[in-house]
Symmetry: C2
Subunit: 403 residues, 2 copies
């Protein structure tokens, strides 16, 4: 199903970060569904979380714990989101943290909980309870790929990537995993990502790096416009390697490598989008500002009519034009709009080009990957957004998810 | 395919309004695809048009003509939207008006053009040209139902309704037809509607009545969130019957009857939505103001995850809660949120009710029609929005539309 996406063959371990995964019988149809990341003392952690007003119990607790203490352990379960579960859900998330803390000799607020899966069902606490000691005994710095599998829900391929960054201060390593394949849009849709580097970075600067990288990566993808109650992207710096901060001359190189890694993971989520048969890059240019460039890109990316045309490989550029026309942009003038599909120029000045041949555009749109380039002719700002098509299988997967 | 929708058996003629329809071989797979409405002298006409920035050539021309003269004829073709056709499209729309005017002895700006169908293809002018004299010779006050068929594109059922309104001034009649089944959302998505009454109403007051009625009807439906370049709803008052204006004591009764008729037509569009298997009413209450009530209703109505769950008849209320949580409403608190499916209370104070049984909710959601009631616990404002589910057939219809 996934578009040009393979599981990573190997992920580079990060000194000072160890993973364990296990099958706690939470997730149907089986497989590992719990993972634990433990960080050496002295690590720093940054996070971005869902903006959904109804954030799940673990999200609220993770944010609270991060405000209280330096995190040392991240516990993730798949198969159950612990969302819409009220006070009992909050107590369950807290009990999980306490249990991990007890096993590892930490304070409960040094443990961050994460859950993903079905909304509105209670966590099966006895199963989680039984699994936690198995996790704490199995920690291994080579556990990244197994963890990438354990956090999957409707994902068909585990997602992970690594980067080595050569800096003047020495070589640093970055490794990240992610899950998500539907309910994906900006502001942290149903996705989780866990990233770590061996750099030593002050917590405030790590937060700065994560926020700088998330806009162009996880907040620039959309599958269906739905967001989740549970999304989070976490960046850990174990401190085993070179020290870096925002004033270091190597800082921009580090942030660029982080953004590049996060774009790869974000695009992997879109490539594995529920029912996706195409991976589509929407590149908007000539906007008056970055916000309007993003608005136009997301309006096209969310258009069911564009997405079904993409599924059909049908160069129905009228649907692209109609979506651009309803984007919330003031005083947009059609005469300035150009549209190209990869290298095939389709619309110039709001009208089909004289030399446009539909067969050329059909050839582009029948590929597994293509780029829609939209010029607005209003300014210099640009935006890139990645999305997938809308297929029969999207409907099947989401109609059958709980059955 | 359509959910509890039948073609109207008869539509009441409106004195002073005559229709003709014909097959001009514009539309695949055939059938009538042109219609002409001619109004007696003295009629007034009001219209609301798409807010898409890239309004099609006929929309721009219809607005221009309405500003210049009192309309006497409305020419509609289906099968070709005459959108994204540039200067040539504008010239074609103008030529159609001139041709009708010539046949009827009118000025060209007394004719309003409307087109619906595929975007980006030139109108087949010689076919339209040949058809126009056939139309002007066949005008008949009983032509409403045939016209309702002629303006259809992917519609499976012609849509029309009539009302008789007994007023102190005498009995008035209202008849309307509509087309649309996808690319439907507020602000006049791909839909056309033509309404007429025999009342004599000043043009400014007729405009007031149409705008008062459109918010609760055509602007309260959504199929897929896409809007079109061609939408229009037109209200004609022929003046053959009693005189009415905004200061008349019967005015509110007239407006209420118009709104009621337009809601029936709007809901008919949703019932005939592309691939629809369910007709869903979203009723939001307890909002701080009407705008936030509508925002919440539309956010749920546009959620592909809610729409696929509805297709499956799956009471996955977590998806409703998650959609409410991402609605653009400031400071929404989950503790105030109640959700019911018809009479089955599901969520109270943001949590599943103790007495909730999934089987009860599944019974509601497996019906062809049901109501989702969402209470926000913030105030007194309400909104009602109608939508459909997202099915395999929605994808099929929109992936295959041009092939």
């Amino acid at each position: 199903m996934a578009v040009n996406l393979r599981a990573p063959e190997a992920l580079i371990p990060i000194a000072g970060a160890r993973w364990a995964s296990t099958d706690a019988a939470i997730k149907k149809p089986g497989g590992d569904d719990m993972a634990l990341l433990v960080l050496d003392e002295g690590a720093t952690v940054a996070g971005v979380f869902t903006r959904n007003a109804f954030a799940a119990a673990p999200v609220a607790l993770a944010k609270h714990h991060m405000a209280c203490a330096a995190p040392r352990a991240l516990l993730i379960n798949s198969g159950n989101a612990n969302a819409g579960t009220g006070r009992e859900g909050e107590a369950d998330a807290a009990a999980c943290c306490a249990r991990v803390a007890e096993e590892l000799g930490l304070a409960a607020d040094q443990v961050l909980p994460f859950s993903t899966g079905v909304i509105g069902e209670k966590l099966p606490m006895s199963r989680l309870d039984n699994a936690i000691p198995r996790l704490t005994r199995a920690l291994d710095s080579h556990g990244w790929l197994a963890a990438a599998r354990a956090i999957m829900t409707t994902d068909t391929v585990p997602k992970g990537a690594s980067r080595r960054v050569r800096l003047e201060a020495g070589e640093l390593t970055l490794t990240g995993i992610a899950k998500g394949s539907g309910m994906i849009r900006p502001d942290m849709a149903t996705m989780l990502s866990f990233l770590a580097t061996d750099a030593a970075v002050p917590a405030a600067d790590l937060d700065l790096a994560l926020h700088a990288a998330v806009g162009a990566s996880f907040n620039s993808i959309t599958v269906d416009g739905d967001t989740s109650t549970n999304d989070a992207a976490m960046l850990c710096a174990t401190g085993a390697g070179a020290a870096l901060d925002r004033d270091h001359p190597d800082w921009p190189v580090f942030v660029a490598a982080l953004r590049d890694l996060m774009i790869e993971l974000a695009c992997a989520i879109v490539r594995d989008a529920e029912g996706a048969t195409r991976f589509i890059t929407l590149a908007v240019s000539g906007a008056a500002d970055a916000d309007e460039a993003r608005q136009v890109a997301f309006t096209v990316a969310h258009s069911p009519l564009f997405k079904t045309a993409a599924f059909a490989g049908d160069p129905n550029w009228g649907r692209i034009l109609a979506a651009v026309g309803r984007a919330p942009v003031a005083d947009l003038v059609i005469d300035g709009v150009d549209i190209a599909l990869d290298e095939v120029a389709v619309v110039a000045g709001g009208q089909p080009r004289e030399d446009y041949r539909e067969a050329d555009a059909a050839r582009v749109m029948s590929q597994p990957e293509f780029r829609v380039r939209i010029g607005l002719g209003r300014g210099e700002a640009t935006a890139t957004v990645w999305t997938s098509d809308l297929s029969y299988d999207y409907v099947r997967i989401n109609a059958e998810y709980r059955s």
